[in-house]
């Protein structure tokens, strides 16, 4: 078992505090390469920017297991210069525009400070006060002589924090998966060949994962991601029937999402491992959403695939919240699962 403590949280903090918008994942790639290089047999950065690393096990009948975590996060791209430090932007990935007004951002590789502003409440009529401002009604303001370039990316400027049992960050989705995968590479059991895919452009269509799977051609794959927890109270005090996942109940194992029916053998296997190791887990409510598994499952002649996520609240917003224990148990579950993997697992349907 990998130890879990301050070093892991420090690594997550470092990963969460850099900005790595889909298509511009260099900052996370740098940290990943630095962390895994001493531990892997081969590593390459492919044509899309994925970091693809192999660490071989020892002995006979080793399975090729692909573990996937995406390096990108949702954010913004500057699309037009309005002059005097004011820029129009578009969102990259699925961001609810209601999370944007009045937020701080960092722009470009220089992390130039900027703010997202709009019309003050005093100058609005009552209709405007309750109307959503669409993204094309918002601007990023760098100050009158502020300079950036059209095409520069921007991301939320919120800093990683630890509070009680929780972690707060803009990019838990999916730095928590990246940190998990780094830890698994460092502490890999020897019964498998580990194919670690740190992918790009998940948030805009699972683009990195497809080519990563095609490169590795693994026997099976697990996408490690972070999934929304809608476990807030219902307005009338009734029972919340559509929570997706809940914080504090452990790793969320996927059965079905909008793009994937996850391989039932792998779903059952993960449940069995959790139960025999007394690791808490939850089954994500079948429904919408998706992970890199959607692209991996369809790659080549088809790859048995499952997803495991650390739940977080407030997805794709300036500040998401996860529980440290859910992360710890996710890492423990995956570690235990790797150790028990044998070719029999997928020999039969």
């Amino acid at each position: 078992m990998p130890t879990f403590g301050n070093a892991q949280l420090k690594l997550l903090e470092r990963l969460c505090n850099v900005i790595s918008i889909s298509g511009d994942e260099g900052e996370v790639r740098k940290i990943v390469l630095e962390e895994i290089k001493p531990h892997v047999d081969e590593v390459r950065v492919d044509a899309l920017g994925n970091v693809l690393a192999t660490r071989r096990g020892r002995g006979a009948k080793r399975m090729r297991v692909m573990l996937d975590a995406h390096m990108d996060e949702v954010g913004f791209m500057l699309v037009a210069d309005d002059g005097e430090g004011i820029y129009r932007f578009e969102t990259v990935g699925g961001i609810d525009a209601r999370h944007l007004l009045g937020k701080q951002v960092y722009v470009s590789k220089d992390s130039t400070p900027g703010v997202i502003g709009g019309k003050p409440i005093h100058l609005m009529d009552s209709g405007e006060r309750t109307r959503k401002v669409p993204v094309d009604g918002l601007r990023i303001d760098l100050g009158p002589s502020g300079k950036a370039k059209v095409g520069d990316r921007a991301g939320f400027a919120t800093r990683f924090r630890r509070v009680g049992p929780s972690i707060l960050s803009k990019s838990i989705d999916d730095r928590i998966g990246v940190a998990t995968l780094i830890e698994l590479v460092k502490n890999q059991p020897t019964n498998v060949d580990l194919c670690a895919a740190f992918t790009v452009q998940e948030e805009i269509g699972l683009r990195g994962a497809r080519v990563a799977a095609q490169y590795f051609n693994p026997d099976l794959a697990i996408a490690i991601d972070s999934t929304p927890a809608h476990d807030l109270p219902v307005h009338n005090g009734g029972e919340n029937m559509t929570y997706n996942t809940k914080l504090g109940l452990g790793p969320a194992i996927y059965i079905a999402d909008s793009s994937t029916l996850h391989d039932p053998r792998l779903v059952r296997f993960l449940q069995g491992v959790a139960e025999s190791e007394s690791i808490p887990y939850q089954l994500r409510q079948p429904g919408g959403g998706g992970t890199d598994s959607g692209a991996i499952q369809r790659a080549l002649a088809g790859i048995p695939t499952v997803s495991v996520s650390v739940p977080h609240r407030y997805t794709h917003s300036p500040m998401s919240i996860s529980r440290v224990d859910d992360w710890k148990n996710t890492l423990a579950l995956l570690q235990a699962a790797l150790k028990r993997m044998t070719p029999e697992l997928i020999a039969k349907r």
């Binding site: 004011i86 401002v133 509070v163 307005h235 407030y314």
Partner: protein, 362 residues
């Protein structure tokens, strides 16, 4: 002259929601103490700094009649929120002052727990399925449906947070290009900074009049501080300093003015025309860039309550443009803050002992 920016940043790094201004009052008091002769608190918590008149003219006057005084009012309170209910570890909130609900989802806040602990939190927007069917879950949600999440367990939240605890914006100040500072509560801590610049300038100037530097409370809710301090101190003249609307994204109408290009001197029924003329003449003479702002009825500032206090006080309003007012990313040019401070100091220094007699209507 010291750089005013660090002081301003320290002021906008603490809360001070209307009615609960103690934390920021302490920071201001520490800054003002060496700049004034006396510091005191009003009965309702406004901070009063008295800088006595110091020229030969003032000593001549002493003993004969009461030294004339000018009151400069800058409100130190901030809009914010208050816990209205604790449920399942989440906090329901209500607004204190003119909160723009559109900026709330995803905002980073501090919950000021009853035991004096400061809990970080984030304002959460529940998914549509958790809301009543009558509510459009993809539009802007009323504050009643928003929740604060502290990241703590329900049990810890129940133990620490009570109804009535305050919630304030907690994002850190950000320096933008061209000496623009951005953050929450620049309305109106920027004016406190301008008044501080004025007090610093006055250290090397002689002035006949006594100066009451006042950081008022509860401007955003009821003008309580300005009403009561003007009554208690009974100045011959009062000037309010506050923000006006800067031109910028979403704001380009006649009410808006360029940021960083000068101070506003406001005219309208809340302001005495003679004081307005004196201020504009002085700004022109000193080549301090300024622009004319007009309000046809109520200025929405401390100038309004001070004007009608006691037997009535001749009042003026000095402003500087703020972008994104009442959001956590208000933006102000530090150049304008310095200009406002200098204009106030020059105006005070220009007041002669009998100035009040020259304030005429026609």
């Amino acid at each position: 002259m010291t750089d005013i920016l660090p002081f301003l940043k320290s002021m906008i790094s603490v809360s001070g929601v209307s009615g609960y201004e103690t934390a920021v009052a302490k920071i201001i008091e520490d800054k003002w103490r060496p700049l004034v002769d006396e510091v005191s608190l009003s009965r309702v918590g406004s901070l009063h700094g008295l800088k006595r008149g110091n020229s030969a003219d003032s000593s001549k006057n002493s003993g004969k009649k009461k030294q004339p005084s000018i009151l400069i009012a800058t409100h130190m309170d901030a809009i914010g929120m208050m816990v209205s209910k604790v449920s399942d570890g989440f906090l329901h909130i209500t607004a204190v002052g003119g909160i723009d609900v559109r900026v709330l989802p995803g905002a980073f806040v501090t919950v000021h727990a009853s035991n004096a602990e400061e809990l970080p939190g984030v304002i959460a927007m529940p998914s549509a399925k958790l809301l009543p069917e009558s509510v459009n879950g993809s539009e802007v949600l009323a504050i009643d449906y928003l929740l604060v999440d502290t990241g703590l367990t329900p049990r810890e939240v129940e133990r620490k947070v009570k109804v009535g605890d305050l919630v304030s914006f907690a994002n850190e100040p950000m320096e933008l290009a061209d000496e623009v500072i951005s953050g929450h509560t620049l309305d109106n801590r920027s004016s406190v900074a301008a008044l501080t610049v004025c007090l610093e300038e006055l250290q090397s100037k002689s002035h006949v009049w006594d100066v009451w530097a006042v950081a008022t409370v509860q401007e955003e809710t009821s003008y309580l501080g300005a009403y009561t301090s003007a009554f208690a101190l009974r100045p011959q003249i009062a000037i309010a300093v506050d923000g006006t609307f800067a031109k910028g994204p979403g704001a380009n109408g006649w009410q808006t003015h360029p940021m960083g290009k000068g101070v506003g001197i406001c005219m309208g029924p809340n302001m005495h025309p003679y004081l307005h003329k004196k201020l504009t003449d002085l700004a022109t003479k000193l080549e301090i860039p300024w622009f004319l702002d007009v309000t046809s009825a109520h200025s929405g500032t401390d100038a309004y309550p001070m004007q009608v206090t006691a037997e009535g006080i001749p009042t003026a309003l000095v402003e500087f443009p703020i972008r994104y007012m009442h959001t956590p990313v208000e933006a102000v040019s530090v150049k304008d803050i310095r200009r406002a401070g200098r204009l106030l100091a020059e105006f005070i220094a220009s007041l002669e002992g009998d100035f009040v007699d020259s304030i005429l209507w026609e």
